[in-house]
Amino acid sequence: MNPTDLALQLWPAAASATAVETDWLILAFTVLTLLLTVPVFVAITWFAIRYRQGEEADRSHGNTRSVLIEISWMLIPFLLTLIFFVWGARLFFVSKQAPGDAMVVEAIGRQWMWKFQHPTGQSEINDLHLPIGQPIKIRMISQDVIHNLYLPALRMQMATLPDRYTELWFKADRTGSYRLYCSEYCGTDHSKMDGNLTLMTQADYAAWLQNAGANQGGQAGAGRVVYESYGCGNCHDPGAKVRAPALAGLYGREVKLADGRTVTADETYLRDKILNPNRQKLAADYRQVMPAFRNVIPNDDLDRLLAYLKSSGATAQQEATPGGPVQ
């Protein structure tokens, strides 16, 4: 199931036993809430009608002892709600004690993307594929600001902090495709720091790991995300506000520079141009506006980005979005 098929569903999909129990907790709490509030709302409305000024009504007062009433109407709801405190705390504790045999996935949050690394070494960006029926522990950290990894189908979230590891674990029991988000406001593209959580059977997961490259579009697919996360498209996509050379199909072509020379756009040229656009001569007909990404894009991302620029995907993607940059 694709997450977008959920339109107008009033109950979020639950993919683990903990998620199901959380739903029960919320449902039961809602029943208590109704129990505590509906009588008040009904009473207020009823009194407002019954005791309207000018209406005939018995307004004499019995021997109501307010101290007793006050204490009981504060204490009884408090004790009732404490049941939910205990239930919630128990569930919380369970979801904090990861079993020893949990499979550990590393996660890094960064403006504005998630990077996940599987124990076998494969990594993916924004999307996360995991097996069901096995405890999984996500160990995470942030490279810049505070983010928060939110997996609604598992009723779980945990902050990623700069310089400090945090973790979250769960054992999913239903396959499917679900949303994952960053839920701690982290700047400009906070709302695009999301992706899909795909839960699969162990066999499918093993197969996925085998073909991870193909499934994910490999380095190039990950590179597309890098391309977006650094906002390259704001200038280089067709229809962008700033005029910059289109990158589609650039790799391997001859480029005419402003000083009249012609060079081949090979990997060295692209790499150099990204890291320090000023050192290279400018392409003909363009102004020097591109920022230098030296010390900005880490090496592994640069590799992915180059893989993307070299792939046919870059061509296809840019031709497919003539409407201009994705904001």
């Binding site: 505590l36 007062h61 021997n63 109501t64 403006q111 902090l161 700069p162 999301d194």
Partner: protein
Amino acid sequence: MTSGTITDGPALRDPHTPDSRLGHGADYLHAEHTLRSWFFTTDHKRIALLYLASITAFFVIGAVTAGLVRLALVVPDGQVFTNDTYNKLFTIHGVVMVWFFLIPSIPATFGNFLIPLMIGARDLAFPKLNLASWYVFMTGALFTLASVVLGGVDTGWTFYTPLSTAFSNTWVVPALIGVTIVGFSSILTGLNFVVTIHTMRAPGMTWFRLPIFVWTHYATSLIFLLATPVITVALILLIAERAFHIGVFDPAYGGDPVLFQHLFWFYSHPAVYIMVLPGMGVISEIVPAFAQKKLFGYKFVAYAAIGLASVTFFVWGHHMFVNGQSDFASVAFSVLSFAVAVPSAVKVYNWTATIHKGSLKLDTPMLYAMGYIGLFVLGGLTGLYLATLAINQHVHATYFVVAHFHYIMVGGTVLAFLGGLHFWWPKITGRMYNEAWGRISAFLIFIGFNVTFFPQFILGYLGMPRRYHVYPPEFQFLNILSSAGSTILAVGYIFPMVYLVYSIWFGKRAPANPWDARGLEWTVASPPPAHNFLTEPQAPKIPYDYPIQARETGRQHS
């Protein structure tokens, strides 16, 4: 309305109360006319009006930005505004609403106007300090508005580090300076109220004859005094870190970003009670007046105000259940939060019991009060959901939270504010507003509010994170519903702005006590004389001395 009009004098319960048949120029509005007499006044009533005008302006800014945020969210793909514009809009909305509207709203306007009148004093203890606090407030506002004019801020009203210190490229520092300065205004107001309530009560005005409004403001002032310095320190450290890279919060310099959250919420959670308690105070005046019956459990409500103000200091950690806080701390903060939330929410039973066997008048202030009760209860109880650890793990930082805090803050503060505004409007301006329009506005706001914010509980539960400019298409329907509700709500807000202002010139003249209410403020003319009381006021024997008395009245207790 049993009391008289301006021509035959107010209904006097008390022979010491002066006749209100005074020539023009004697009441505080007409005593002097120059601009100077307004901007350098030390009359608490005029200062209250300066505040009223200022916070109304901030409310309008906050509401317009809210409208734009809701407009943007009609479509899921974020095509209405750019990401930066959207982020700045919700930040301005939050900053202005919290720091420049909600926190000062009731204390700075009604508190200033009414506390001296209610306790039988001629003014606050430090009139010049009171004026100074308005200037401090406006100075802070100037800084924050400057940051908006210069290009905006995009950190969210919570200013979390290191986003705010190292990563935001917007006008964070002027915004922070503004918020820091506004804190000093709160401190000055709180100090003034505490000293006034302690030392300026009229003869016979014992603690247990004080209106609940005064009790709640006393409790609020304690929070102002004890909590505000903490946010001041936190914000100064933040400014210093952003400007000089000293390492307090940013791990890049050896700091700890969670420390900021602790300092921030150590203030900002009690700040919820800065918003809620004065609202409770207003409702506790309106409900007895419109039921013509003594407030049920007067002493309990008074104690509860002080009690809530105290325990609210122990629950700040419930904002950090999923932020890497120790599990033990989370459990402790969870149970403490229950201990605060339950009594707050069940305070409504007192108002309900007050209505029981009363003689009810369903005028505008009472309609607002009833709306308040509904929204506040839902806001309070959904706070318990958030305090429940396992639930928090799911709905933290989603639209569930947005719905919850709007129910508490708009329900608990804005509705009480509007109810109070209608209740005391005749006293403040000397004019009656149009009752029919008043009732329509109360209904529109109640309906508009629920259509706007109830869907957000569901959105949050379905997993829509807050502060999202682009969102998955499956959430669009509920977002459209919410945006549609906000237009109803906007109309509901515009109504009182129009008919109240209209009434200033064209409204019927108000008698001293149009609602037949008790409390010393109703014993003086409308509008009150410049120095409040022409002769020394006498405190009533019991508070809320209404015709219908519950069994447990002050007669037994005091």
